[in-house]
Amino acid sequence: MITFLSGGTGTPKLLRGMRELLDDRDITVVVNTAEDTWLSGNHLSPDIDTVMYLFAGILDTNRWWGIKSDSYVTHDLLARLGIDEYIAVGDQDRAIHVARGEMLRNGVHLTGATAALCRSLGVRATVLPMTDSVVTTYVRTPRGEIHFQEYWVKHRGEVAIDGVIRRFRQPPAATEEVISAIEASDAVVIGPSNPVTSISPILECAGVQEALRRQRVIAVSPFIGDAPVSGPAAALMQAFGKEASSAGTYELYEDFVDIFIQDTRDPVELEGALRLDTLMVNRGKSLDLAKNILTLIYGC
């Protein structure tokens, strides 16, 4: 079994390749939940949904979020009624939010709710929220702190930011399921997801870094030069006090990472880093990177 730490972009592309080589049952994905929010009365968990939809075979892989060929009847009418959902929620996608919202309202933990949704959708991989407590990423802008989703989806990252804040009532702790999965794995792979908004929230959950130190960890940098392969990583890295590059990413992971992978095209020199083609522009590229990583883990 291999455990992946994942956000909503980057790592799912690697998972697409892994699925062609591994049985889904041998894959566990620990997913960032710091972008979760209640929207239109229901619970949106963007990274969990992307990973879950990928394994259910219903992910819209053009956008890497949402359900393919979904309709947007409710969302469109809401706009006419003056309710601006800053993310386009499809009608089937909304059913997932409704089902999860109802479970959470009834006192089910996010881990249990996710497991129930995965069962219904026929997902055989194990999808685990990083924590069952609530932690949310906000970014600091000149006009105040805003939810990361609002910054990235509504404002398209075009607002100046000078800080990244995690808001919570109690410091988040990793669930037992997450710790046991990390411990039981042959290796842990940190995919090329945004280090600030996707991976760091997982690393900040109590217990995760200690477990990773005892485990073999392979991390893939999401940067080529100072440009992230996808997502808003550059501005966020700076706001997080790190250089927007593979070097900055490595600093975040160096305590526990065993193999650090950066792209062959990356001009940043990091001693000891492994160079691979990490730009997963199509299925074949995902598969190649997955093969290379599995060779590192299983040596064949």
């Binding site: 239109s40 009365g41 229901n42 979904d70 309709s71 009847v73 409710t74 969302h75 469109d76 009418l77 809401l78 006419r80 009624l81 003056g82 309710i83 499809g90 009608d91 089937q92 909304r94 059913a95 997932i96 409704v98 089902a99 919202g101 109802e102 479970m103 709710a113 129930a116 949704l117 069962r119 219904s120 959708l121």
Partner: protein, 300 residues
């Protein structure tokens, strides 16, 4: 202006006829809210929505609830994803429910939220909830208490209705008071008294208002035509049979002209006999003409 007390299917059917005679701007509807409930994070208010959809020209007049041509993508997907709703919610109707929930969350009263929605849908008539308080009714079946709407939509027709249970009836709103005081007459539509009209009449202050107004009430029942089994059960739950004399008794002294069907063998002393079946639009228009004639005669 004429104010209608409305709920269920019969009263809206009569209002559809009235729209052929009066401008929408001369019509106010006081809608029952005893069937309101929260579902899937949205605020479902069936009698308000039926009125709003009627004036917006989008009501499904086959069922007298919901939006014509609506789709059910979210509702149909829910059972596949560990969820489910007790009755069908269309994708467009859901948008209306979510938008209203959002307005209520912002702190608007139900009256204000409905007014905003009427503006968005460009409705000329005035649609008013009977109250801004919690007027929800539950059906006590002897074994459990289910929301009145859930009973109407999904319960087995043979389900026992021991009692209709609610909190202390809340007060009518200033909007309702003003509408009735400005009206030439109030028409109590042919709706089930137990489920749709008594909840309005029971609002604190309502009967006093109506005593000062010219009130025409139309019986929804006539002997010889078997009422819907659930309509009958609801009437028995308030201690009366489903007949015109029973309706007259329940409304009591607030009514100035009681309209019962021309073919009804049960006689209510002093009643006005009219053709009251509303099977198609022409019948509704015809009844509307007759009622308007009565009102013109009385108030001129």
């Amino acid at each position: 202006m004429i104010t209608f007390l409305s709920g269920g299917a019969g009263a809206p059917a009569l209002i559809r006829g009235v729209r052929q005679i009066l401008y929408d701007s001369e019509i106010a509807v006081v809608a029952n809210t005893a069937e309101d409930l929260w579902i899937s994070g949205g605020h479902c208010a069936p009698d308000i929505d039926t009125a709003v959809f009627l004036f917006a020209g989008i009501l499904d007049t086959g069922r007298w609830w919901g939006i014509k041509g609506d789709t059910y993508a979210t509702h149909n997907y829910l059972p596949k994803v560990a969820g489910g709703e007790p009755f069908p919610v269309g994708d467009r109707a859901r948008a209306v429910q979510i938008a209203r929930a959002a307005l209520l969350d912002e702190g608007l009263t139900l009256t204000e939220a409905v007014r905003a929605q009427c503006r968005s849908l460009k409705i000329g008539a005035t649609v008013l909830p009977m109250t801004d308080g919690d007027a929800a009714l539950f059906v006590d079946t002897g074994t459990e208490r289910i929301p009145l709407l859930t009973y109407r939509m999904t319960a087995d027709p043979g389900t026992e209705v021991r009692e209709l249970v609610g909190r202390k009836p809340p007060a009518v709103t200033d909007g309702v008071r003003a509408a009735i005081e400005e009206s030439d007459a109030v028409v109590i539509g042919p709706a089930n008294p137990a489920a749709s009209i008594l909840p309005i009449l029971d609002c604190a202050g309502m009967r006093d208002l109506l005593r000062d107004a010219f009130v025409v009430a139309v019986s929804p029942f006539r002997a010889g035509v078997a009422p819907d089994q659930k309509d009958a059960a609801l009437m028995y739950a308030v201690g009366e049979p489903p007949t015109a004399p029973a309706v007259s008794r329940l409304y009591g002294d607030i009514v100035d002209v009681f309209v019962q069907d021309i073919h009804d063998p049960d006689d209510v002393a002093g009643s006005l006999r009219l053709e009251t079946s509303l099977l198609h639009e022409r019948q509704a228009e015809s009844l509307a003409w007759d009622i308007m004639a009565v009102i013109r005669h009385a108030v001129s």
